[in-house]
Symmetry: C2
Subunit: 336 residues, 2 copies
DNA sequence: ATGAAAGCGCTAACAC
DNA sequence: GTGTTAGCGCTTTCAT
């Protein structure tokens, strides 16, 4: 039996309403406030958040739905989201979907049952396009990916520009036959592919691309393994590129593994570049040229947008588009 | 206004109790069940979990308190915990303490207010030793670290044995002046230090150790930077070791950065070894020799222990001690 | 400023 | 098998 507000009231010789007011910094005389605080301390009372939420009709809880917390991008974003959330008195419920639309649907449903105030969501393309945000009952801020038709706030990277930047960097370093490895579950992969194709076309070059499907397996970095297999196959073919772009950190990791296994020299035989400045990209030999995403900023901005949306439900939709930063390292060293 | 169980009951022409029974798979005739299910589907009803928790007095929620989700060890453990939890119908509230005892206390308090069923906790040594588990009101499973006096279930690595294994590996590779870099906030660092000292003593060697204090800063891998600074200083001294052990992945990362900056050859001038088979350790050049922790197993075992404890509150305390696995790579190659 | 009382949405006795 | 009813612990009118 835990102690309730009733016990505290009795102990302090006041009504439950007064205790509630003390807890909520309501108008209470100094004398009674002191008595209540003493009773709280003595009894070790802890307010029951379920009761509070039920009665007050706000949960002070948000959902954070990502594909896999083990992806360093989402790890960093989550941490930033959580910090802002806790500072604002909000809890976070974290969900991993493994890019699986069924799990996405399940967790959205769970969020409804939790009566969350809002959700920050990195959706697959399928879900982003089909999602009826209005019917959900809470606002959604999309991160990392957003369908063209998604009617909600979003915090995104300028993916086309970033991909183009990577291509221009490689062109500047003297590479011409540039290939790309892209994920195909999220809009992010599609946008980076588009930027890649555009930049190549602008240079009068054709853009060879391969797409890596999702893997919903457990306990293995799924897309990294798929990327390794895809890259390994490509490297054996006659049209193997002289430079390779990978559209996210996991795919780049897979590409590196394939290259190692094949004994291909980087950048001598194959230059490499990709997205996400994960810690290994700096330590690998040679270091990986990457587009660094402002991960903290993405998480913080998403949480702040959600808080603002909660305060002003009617305000116009907003998209925050952040720029990536090119970090040039040895893997794309200029040809000589 | 969201639809409640009352609305569904009215729509189906039954009592709320019947709706509740349908939802909870209670005894209901097929005819009524069908009507209720139709009403649920038509109204888009979602049960309110706050109300359910308040009434039923169980939250089906656990707390997971770690120092920093960005530490790959905790990332992996968290994912495993969450998978088991969701499969068992439990939610997870994740908290990052940054090794800060004040935050630990704050989050434990929050867990009480949430009336969580239990908590999985990677505590600092200070908290692990002072914690009154009995007074918390919920069971705790310690992971990664445990105070000697901690009166609760735990899932741990055999830290002494693992550290000793690392030492023996280095001795076998011909290194003698072995130094160690240890964290000093958790019992883990202390145990690994003890194993290090013992193994060195067994070989008749003295064990030079340095300790890295915690850093509670934001947005920087705290202990990695501290380790870099500590290692950088040490390498400049007259008594610089010929091999260095780092007691976790972040410290090893810091050591590598120091070594790179100083232009020290690995393993030629300094051999390196540590804990945690993080992805960069394989990709770095040379690859890092590490003790791999069974991260999935740790998370899964912790969640399962907690579930068992909830079912049998009175059962004796249990400690699961898992073995680390040595992954030998180039950073500790035999001297010649 | 304080207290009495209603009720948030649900489950679990208890009656039939 | 089904309905009625009493709370779970709290906030929030509404009186005073």
């Amino acid at each position: 039996m835990t102690t309730s507000i009733k016990d505290v009231a009795q102990l302090a010789g006041v009504s439950v309403a007064t205790v509630s007011r003390v807890l909520g910094n309501g108008p209470v005389s100094a004398a009674l406030r002191a008595k209540v605080e003493a009773a709280v301390a003595q009894s070790g009372y802890r307010p029951n958040l379920s009761a509070r939420r039920l009665r007050s009709q706000h949960t002070h809880t948000i959902g954070l739905i990502v594909s896999d917390i083990r992806n360093p991008f989402f790890t960093a974003v989550s941490r930033a989201v959580e910090d802002v959330a806790y500072q604002s008195g909000m809890r976070v419920i974290l969900c991993n979907t493994d890019e699986n639309p069924d799990k996405e649907a399940m967790y959205l449903r769970l969020m409804q049952e939790e009566r969350v105030s809002g959700v920050i969501f990195a959706a697959t393309r399928a879900t982003a396009e089909a999602l009826d945000v209005a019917g959900l009952g809470f606002p959604v801020v999309m991160i990392d990916r957003a369908g063209p038709s998604a009617r909600c706030d979003a915090v995104l990277l300028d993916n086309r520009a970033a991909a183009a930047q990577l291509v221009e960097h490689l062109l500047g370093a003297g590479y011409r036959r540039i290939g790309g490895l892209f994920g195909n579950t999220s809009s992010t992969g599609a946008e980076r592919h588009a930027g890649f194709v555009e930049a190549m076309a602008a240079a009068g070059l054709s853009a060879a691309a391969r797409f890596v499907p999702p893997r919903w397996a457990r306990f293995v970095a799924p897309s990294a393994e798929a990327a390794r297999a895809e890259a390994a196959g490509w490297l054996r073919e006659a049209d193997a590129p002289e430079a390779l772009i990978a559209s996210n950190g996991l795919l780049l990791l897979g590409a590196v593994k394939a290259v190692r296994e094949a004994g291909v020299a980087v950048p001598g035989q194959l230059a490499l570049a990709g997205f996400d400045n994960d810690s290994w990209t700096e330590l690998a030999d040679p270091g990986m040229t990457v587009i660094e995403q402002p991960v903290d900023e993405i998480g913080r901005a998403a949480m702040e947008m959600l808080l603002e949306r909660l305060q002003q439900p009617g305000r116009p939709l907003r998209k925050v588009v952040l720029a990536g930063r090119l970090v040039a390292r040895g893997s794309s060293q200029a040809r000589r």
